[in-house]
Amino acid sequence: MMYTFYLEKDSFLHSLDPRTKIIGSLSAMVAVLLFNHPAVMTALFLLILIAGRVLGKVEIGEQLKFLKPLLPLVILTIALWPLIYRPRTLGLLFGASFALRLLTLGLITILLLATTRQRELIRGFVKLGLPYELGLTVSIGLRYIPTLYILANNIMDAQKSRGWEVEKGNILVRLRKMSAVLIPLIVASLRTAHELSIALETRAFGASKKRTFLRDIKMRRRDYVALILILLLLGTAVYLRYSLGVGYVRIYG
């Protein structure tokens, strides 16, 4: 079962400073948002997938497994575009393209989380100038995604045992049926959040203004090299997109 995204491995990505990885991830996201051509999106998706395997030693299968929860959105995207865009074949291509963009953005986030420990991630955010509380909030949020996923499954199992079936009925009926899962999920989440805040306070969270850190992070040579490469790649992407007009198709008008 999946409790956190982090995977303990000895890889190049794991050895980088979290700041490098945060900047790298943001740059990759910007690059993905620059383009919308289906071929370019496919290439970028595969590139990130391979980079995750080669640089982060995260198996392709593992990466795809993490993306599985996005599947409904992907299907919806691919199905909706041809409905609202004409000619339909072009709509389908755009749908596929945006679905791939979504998957690539997801993949980038997952690779950041799979190769960076939570405490290092917070440290990275703080060193980049974010307040500690914000860094903590972000990482707690990320930390609880898998937990909520498991909880939701558990609740669905409990309701299935009471003869509940989501598959039956039209979309309105289905939405109403979802309340059997959403209400217990929200109640349990609020309860967890409340308990977490008490746990934080009992450990004197916020007691002193200045926090100290047991493990500090340090930029090494490989980080600077990686950063230069990242910025060069991003620069190339911007150049391709804006000066050469590669990889972008006008959708409207």
């Binding site: 558990n154 199992d157 409990a158 299935k160 003869g163 509940w164 309340s179 959403l182 217990p184 109640v187």
Partner: protein, 262 residues
């Protein structure tokens, strides 16, 4: 009859159940084993929440692979460990009615079932309360009523007394006893050996994904339980030390001792 044949199951390639054979009818079976031994995974196969990787699970002849959980819920009821994971209605009445409604029961029959289920768990008069306003023991009993209202022949209860105070625990135990008298087959997952001693007719011990014991409760307590992370109730130790042998309750022990001393 619930029949399990050579059940194998794996999570992400890790084998959790390694070939379990099991059968139960209308009896009270305690399912015990240390944390992570595969008890819950096993139990979730009995109402089709999990489908076997290899092997077969038959519920009154129905293969769980060919039926949905909703269909199987008419025969096998599963009471989850945390009652709050199922509550979402505004009143106790609607909460209990949710299951039968899903089975297509309406009107007078529905009202009767809810009333009957609430009475069975000693909660008559709670109909218009909010499920979230109840105490721990009441929540647990309500959870049982929710499943009971669907009139399943078999009930699976996952640690129904964990975290309850003594009085609430008694209230749940009494419900279990009366369900047994009503003729339900009950599979009780628990760590409480006192409860096993008091209630179980038969015990199944799972350890490391394998069934290591399946037999009457008397034989179970002569196993070297500490090897499985379990321990014998003090009552049984006392009975053995005083040469009485097997007893289930304090009253039985006192009775046997009185006979002995006379």
């Amino acid at each position: 009859m619930i029949e399990v044949r050579n059940l194998h199951f794996a999570y992400d390639g890790r084998e959790v159940l390694k070939g379990i054979d099991f059968a139960m009818g209308r009896e009270l079976v305690a399912l015990v084993g240390p944390n992570g031994s595969g008890k819950t995974t096993f139990a979730k196969h009995l109402n089709g929440l999990l489908k076997p990787v290899k092997g077969k699970v038959l519920v009154d002849g129905m293969d769980t692979k060919e039926h949905t959980v909703a269909e199987l819920s008419r025969v096998v009821g599963y009471v989850f460990q945390n009652p709050e994971h199922m509550f979402f209605e505004e009143t106790v009445f609607d909460e209990v009615a949710f299951g039968p409604r899903n089975l297509g029961i309406e009107g007078e029959e529905l009202r009767k079932r809810v009333e009957w289920a609430l009475k069975a768990v000693n909660m008559k008069g709670y109909e218009s309360r909010s499920p979230y306003s109840l105490s721990g023991g009441e929540k647990q009993r309500l959870a049982i009523a929710c499943i009971l209202a669907m009139k399943p022949k078999y009930l699976i209860l996952d640690e129904p007394t964990t975290g309850l105070d003594a009085r609430s625990e008694r209230s749940v135990v009494n419900v279990l006893k009366s369900l047994r008298e009503m003729g339900h087959g009950i599979l009780l997952i628990t760590h409480d050996m006192g409860l096993v001693l008091e209630l179980a007719e038969r015990v199944v011990l799972i350890h490391g994904g394998e069934k290591v014991f399946d037999g009457p409760v008397t034989d179970f307590f002569s196993l070297p339980l500490t090897n499985y992370g379990l321990s014998k109730p003090e009552l049984l130790n006392l009975a053995e030390e005083t040469g009485v042998g097997f007893v289930r309750t304090v009253e039985e022990l006192v009775g046997a001792l009185e006979v002995k001393l006379r």
